[in-house]
């Protein structure tokens, strides 16, 4: 018997995430750079169990498998590959004061990170699940 692959319904996802900006405000939004994994995690309310679905380039979106709520983003191979190939992101990283090889955690709800929150808020709705693999 062939196991069926779970399908993330785009309409259901849209419904489940209408409140994501207020969730960010309520639960908090953190940027965690993990130097061991060379991955930047953007987490709404801390790390949670989630699926990692490809958004664009090195960016994955973290989706709760039951509620379809978006729990954050992660950017893989951050210093090694993402930044050298995404110059627009370089100024954002300077604002976050990230350093290669150095773990870092920042609370993005601080007023000085408003422009970064706006970028994240714009990225999240751009996710559309594919209808086939």
């Amino acid at each position: 018997m062939t196991e069926e692959i779970r399908f993330l319904d785009p309409d259901e996802m849209m419904k489940a995430n209408q409140d994501y900006i207020s969730r960010m405000e309520r639960e908090g939004l953190d940027a965690v750079y993990d130097a061991t994994l060379d991955t930047l995690f953007i987490e709404i309310g801390g790390p949670k169990e989630a699926l990692s679905e490809h958004l664009a380039d090195n960016i994955m979106i973290r989706v709760d498998p039951d509620t379809l709520r978006i729990e954050g983003l992660e950017i893989l191979d951050f210093f090694e590959d993402f930044l050298p190939n995404n110059r627009l992101a370089q100024s954002l990283v300077q604002d976050l004061e990230l350093r290669q090889g150095q773990d870092s955690r920042l609370a993005l709800m601080e007023p000085r990170f408003k422009h970064i929150r706006e970028v994240i808020a714009a990225l999240v709705p751009s996710y559309t699940p594919s209808t086939s693999t």
């Binding site: 692959i5 779970r6 993990d34 995690f41 699926l51 699940p129 693999t133």
Partner: protein, 118 residues
């Protein structure tokens, strides 16, 4: 046992008979940020031995191995993805592990498991 060996949480031989290891350091970091896969890290060998798909991420020379049927509960019916980098000697190191419903766009498909004829 060397310090290096003691640091290995999972050691496997992949589909091409190459050794692949998951270090304690990487396992701890994956578990911290991806709590959903922590319980499934011992299943990494199953993915490496019998993958359904292999994609190659050319820019960083990582191989992404996908397998259905390894994850259960809330993650049932999703792929377990193990990202591996091989060194010049052909030894692999697990870089990260995550569950997903579909392969990432933009990677190069290197292998797909043949479908069984009925």
């Amino acid at each position: 046992m060397t310090d290096n060996e003691a640091n290995i949480v999972v050691g496997c031989v992949d589909f091409a008979h190459r050794t692949v290891r998951l270090t304690a350091d990487v396992a701890a970091h994956v578990g911290a940020r991806h709590p959903e896969v922590e319980l499934f890290l011992p299943h990494i060998c199953g993915v490496l031995e019998a993958r359904d798909f292999v994609y190659h991420r050319l820019r960083v020379n990582s191989y992404l191995l996908y397998k259905l049927g390894m994850l259960t509960g809330r993650l049932a019916n999703t792929y377990m993805v193990v990202v591996v980098r091989y060194n010049e000697q052909g030894q692999g190191e697990v870089r990260t592990v995550y569950p997903t419903t579909q392969p990432a766009r933009g990677d190069t498909l290197r292998y797909i498991r043949p479908r069984r004829s009925s």
